[in-house]
Symmetry: C3
Subunit: 131 residues, 3 copies
Amino acid sequence: MEKVSIKTHSRSEFIDITQAVSEIVQKSETREGMCYVYIPHTTAGVTINENADPSVRKDILNKLDNIVPWNGNYTHGEGNSAAHIKSTLVGSSVSIPISEGRLIRGIWQGIYFCEFDGPRNREVFIQIIKG
Amino acid sequence: MEKVSIKTHSRSEFIDITQAVSEIVQKSETREGMCYVYIPHTTAGVTINENADPSVRKDILNKLDNIVPWNGNYTHGEGNSAAHIKSTLVGSSVSIPISEGRLIRGIWQGIYFCEFDGPRNREVFIQIIKG
Amino acid sequence: MEKVSIKTHSRSEFIDITQAVSEIVQKSETREGMCYVYIPHTTAGVTINENADPSVRKDILNKLDNIVPWNGNYTHGEGNSAAHIKSTLVGSSVSIPISEGRLIRGIWQGIYFCEFDGPRNREVFIQIIKG
């Protein structure tokens, strides 16, 4: 298993980790298999979405804030329940096929670490299974 | 890795791909393992839900439209931000166990390609890992 | 593949299955690989979230009820559309890395079976792939 460290800069933020994941897949010399990106945090997530126009990520973050506002009728004393809820809605892992030696993504797909309670130092775990 | 091509007919639609996925699992002659269904698009997703009463899928699509309306306060110029947001909420892959030579699903579970910005020609990637 | 049976006690409830999953991983004597937790039901799900303060789970369940109320403008005759919708939003599987012989989780992460239409007898399927 490989680990990638990242540093986030805002409360809510998408950080592109596509390149880091692709490089780990290449170094593994896997022809066919699966690549798993796992987030070991409960106030963050990971998603796959458009890598071209950054306004897409902005719209996703805005809508998540709209569905799950930071200030709400929450009971958790730390005050970051919204981040925990977003983590469950978005998910803490993505699974991406590896085929013919490379990570198989759609042409518009990037892999994004989703910070929901930053800024923080975060980790991403990457596990590869050969098929 | 196998690919399945599908054609969608509406903006929002669930298309049953259970049979196509099951056949690929059977052809692979896998006794124990995992089957991954991966969507290489950023305005679509994949989910597992009830295969009996079609009103369940209708209610899911309606509620998603209600949470993420097509017309909203979005910045992305293409006008399909709602589809990108639904893709992140629903997810772009499902992972299903294979055991004793067959895809293990609950009796009421079907696998659905989720179109959020159709009609379009779409692809579904299926990767199998033997355990 | 291993199966774990659980009994839920309310309509909406998070049940901690971390210990059961960890034990199955340990018994499998896997050094490197992946562990999949799969829910064969369409009115339940599985998520990873905070294992310390139980108010976090309460806030997640409350917000899900707020986004997807039990009584709504649904067409499905059984009356449990809200549970089906939550199942699609939360997801029916989680994928967790195994490394150096143990399930790799963040220190605050627990694995929770998410009941959305209980009380019922439920099953959880656990598949392990060695890497």
